[in-house]
Symmetry: D2
Subunit: 349 residues, 4 copies
């Protein structure tokens, strides 16, 4: 079942990663590759790592250029994908790698993004409860943010009912997440604090105090899984590496829950997942081990003294955190094997 | 007031940083420079950045070689400094840059280090309540761990009475700290996971679930400041940079405490400190800005939604976090101006 | 045409990369995975990026364990593969990713490696003149060193007759090559100067003055291409990155050769090569753009003032420089399409 | 002898480093700190590593603001310092950290910079033959470029008569230099290829083929030392580190010159230099060992096979390569001890 895909925002980091993965997808034919300011340029100049697509000419991002494909991936700044998507046919599978269609609550959208809400689409994190069912056959998919992907994978087995638990292993009102991201997460726009000389050898936080736009998305995902409001303190930090997210998530254990119950629940939740792995005890996740792959690796420990579980989750922010998650969801929507084109090992060291 | 200093463990990262700072201290005369396996070698071979000391020959770490100095700095593996210190004269200022004399509770020592407790010395973090008084004229000083330095500086104004508060601004039973450290924090011993190829481009946690030896030290410092037991969930992570710690610390606000009270308390607590700076609102700490300096930079934000304050503190783990803190405390012990020899800017970018 | 492959030295960086590529090769079945000190351990512990092979148990490197496969890849320290290879059947395709069978001149081998010469096998750099013919159907292949791969690709069009030249565009007696390599090139053995804290933020040369073992290999390749002795000054340097080689190679133009002739020759030489690309004028190679891929990117400029051409070539030392080159040669030996399993884009940023 | 200094271009990397060093200079009083677009801002926001100067307000770069100081340092883009300098009094010591006054040949200036030549000032590399004499009492100083500093220090003992040689140890017509620089060398202007995500893990060349503006400066310095025209092939590369230059320089030995003569000449040339060190045989320079210091470390090896000497020189591009060299020359001009304020060890690891 061969299908055609158009990718807009193709010269950004997310769009480039979508193209990298599509180039290795056995059934995908890459159609229009579009962007804005760089239209007319060879892709080889803008994304020299995409050797197989070097001679493609970037086209302008217009509805005309995107039309006529089976799948359209929108890797655009937030606020930009809503209007484009609205003009694409209902039967086209539209995958929004940006933020526009992630939040279900218009008020949350407006508070954090300051524009009108474009609406809510099926959420492309198949590992969430019920998500696979929603994604199968979907024609609109909202790709999760990179931080939410790591945070939700870290914590959802503690809140959602699953094969090993009835849910409710964690207190919903005291979740703390601190995550470190590689600088590609900040995109390709040139800002002084993202210069190599500033970034190398330095770590820094940002969006502290609940201000980061991924906070409501994390809360939305955990709350939906828990069936009750989950409250999160989320702090993102910028780490001196190009890619990768390491999320450290911690929550209080609910009364009567012990370390064995926790490990059993996570173990059971992910045992059949192709891309999410609870590591053997004693082995800790590294972002290096998932570089370029769609895998997420987790480890957890119960701190009995503090009454908390600490779960660490490592992903590649551009792969599982963006483009890989998009392809995984696309496969589900198209009725293809979920792992098609994603059978990639990490690139290490 | 010129004085002589011997430095043991001089070829490790902590010892090397002590020497770097002593070489710029106007009153210090560097005497014996000792180590173990490398005795007999030129320091220029082992620590080629110490250009001014390149021709020094490393001596064996023995009580004989260390004796006869006004000050002895012990930068030895934990367990090693206790026995050496016990043989040095009471009038010699002995500064232990290792862990042996940090913890006051023998049971905590034994639980985390597994050996007999060597005893407890005045704690070399002058910014803690009452610490300066203890350090003035002291002849034994325990240099704090690097993580505890960053964590205590981040949080102590919320627990200790200070110029801007009666203390008790934060709940003591729900502190969460996640910290990222440069790899020099793991020392110079060669372990596979510390290889450059493994470390670059990768972040990873370790000692999760309360197992890190700095956890009881952080709790000790906060509890002493608070006058009540403070319970901490602490997760250290390894970041792809040679130096620096970024600690993200969060705790619940006590009832009735608001954002203004928090900022006022931190502001007042550090306003006269020469090395600790609450940055102007909107400016976030970077480890890059303190590289090679004895400064700590902080920022905080109250997350009203989560009911928590988040405080981020950046230090250089080898400077303020080890050797700089040692020199600062040494100055106090010797009756010198506290900042002598520490008037160093950060080396950035 | 499915075939089985055993990989020895599987826990090193070269062996791990061979496994990563084989895992994505449509016809390869990975058989025995062997190593020495870590035999009996799950591969997931030793090479956690190989998610698809995590449950494999590493076996001891013995002739018994390696036997019975169609292909055996030896990723062993130099000196170790010769004896193993000698015991494998003649009909098995044996690919030596180490140095033992690269040099044709026993005297050069003994001078640089200090042991007895194991012999010389077909050289696995298909882009060299005549190499493809030698590799087709071969049952023994010597994988080139990583530096020689980059250096030979940079310069061979100036020495070898090719579609755009009769060869002899460059003077053979004055070649200078300076190359920077990521630290995985030094392997996984733990040495103090390879620690992350030492490596990050620092560059250093080594093996200067002609002492590096890759010097005779580079000269062998260029001399064979030129049909006359080519003399090389080669200086390797260690760069703060996990992977990648950037080789800067320069030679004097032969009399009467101008910039156009040079560009035409390189252009013609590589125009049909699937993995080697002379970039459009004005675009310079970056090691980042080939990370994890089997591609080499080149650019050149003629410096008329100095009478030299400067050619820069970027490869991934572990992929095109080792494991990718091995797979490419294996494909030729097995009669498969040369690019099978190597259709990988670079992983960037 | 206290003196006042104004620093223009203070928010760039070069200007920031000048301020860092002046803050530690025992006789310097920092006066006006000026810049262009950021005038009116606290320095603590723009250069947060300069803790001791955080409250300074950046002023506009005007002749009025710079006047009335004993010393004015111009750290401005090329083309900008000429006009400013022309309006400053002749008795003011003006130090141009930019390029405007480095080249003596107006034609070379115009060819490489494309503007009118501002003139030539005493060249601030005291280690060159005759340079100290020119700098003593000078009131105008041109600070060398960072690459030329490393290249000239590497090679000048082979061309200049010195205590150990009559000069002429190297052939002047075949010098090849390949240098790797940290990205701060490219300045603080935001360009896509300097983004952290692009730079980390990647090396790339630029200005290949003789096009880099530092080429004529290197040739000028070597030619002056040699008393004959020296011809250089120079290739700069960008390395994934914030600071540091590693220059690898190679030239043919003149007839009859052997390895001993070379080592003796370099040894003798630098034996009394406070900041330049030929390392003991077998020890190779690392940029990490000079970070933040004014030192240069060298090693060399004669490659008898290739008939060349290879000299590697490591400096910090912002310190010895720019600001440290400026302060060293300033000290000479003001009649102060040459090393005053520069007694800094490297910051390692």
């Amino acid at each position: 079942m061969s299908f055609s895909v158009a990718v807009s925002g193709a010269t950004g980091y997310a769009g480039g990663e979508v193209l990298r993965l599509l180039a290795g997808h056995p059934e995908a034919r890459i159609g229009a590759v579009t962007a804005h300011s760089s239209a007319g340029t060879r892709l080889g100049v803008l994304a020299p790592h995409l050797h197989g697509l070097a001679d493609r000419i970037v086209e302008e991002t217009t509805v005309e250029n995107l039309s006529g494909h089976d799948v359209v991936v929108l890797a655009l700044p937030h606020g930009a994908s809503g209007p484009v998507a609205a003009q694409l046919p209902a039967e086209t599978l539209v995958i929004d790698a940006g933020a526009d269609h992630r939040l279900t609550d218009p008020a949350a959208w407006e508070r954090f993004y300051g524009t009108e809400h474009a609406g809510s689409w099926p959420y492309g994190l198949p590992e969430l409860p019920g998500a696979r069912e929603q994604l199968r056959g979907a024609r609109r998919i909202a790709v999760p943010g990179c931080y939410p992907t790591s945070a939700l994978l870290a914590l959802v087995p503690g809140f959602a009912p699953g094969p090993g638990s009835d849910g409710g292993l964690l207190e919903p009102d005291d979740v703390v997440i601190v995550a470190a991201s590689g600088t590609s997460g900040a995109g390709k726009s040139v800002k002084p604090h993202l210069l190599g000389a500033e970034v190398m050898g330095s770590m820094s936080p940002y969006g502290v105090g609940g201000g980061h736009r991924h906070t409501p998305e994390i809360e939305q995902g955990l709350s939906r899984a828990a069936g009750t409001a989950v409250q999160v303190s989320f702090t993102p930090t910028l780490a001196p590496m190009p890619r990768g997210i390491l999320a450290t998530a911690t929550a209080r254990l609910a009364a009567g829950v012990d370390a064995d119950a926790i490990r059993d629940a996570w173990d059971a939740y992910y045992t059949d997942e192709p891309f999410v792995h609870l590591l053997p005890e004693g082995q800790w996740p590294t972002t290096g081990s998932v570089l370029g792959s769609n895998h997420a690796v987790l480890q957890l420990a119960v701190d009995e003294h503090a009454g908390r579980v600490v779960v660490c989750c490592a992903i590649d922010n551009l792969t599982k955190g963006t483009a890989g998650g998009a392809i995984q969801s696309m496969n589900l929507a198209l009725g293809l094997p979920e792992t098609m084109g994603l059978d990639l090992q990490g690139v290490a060291p």
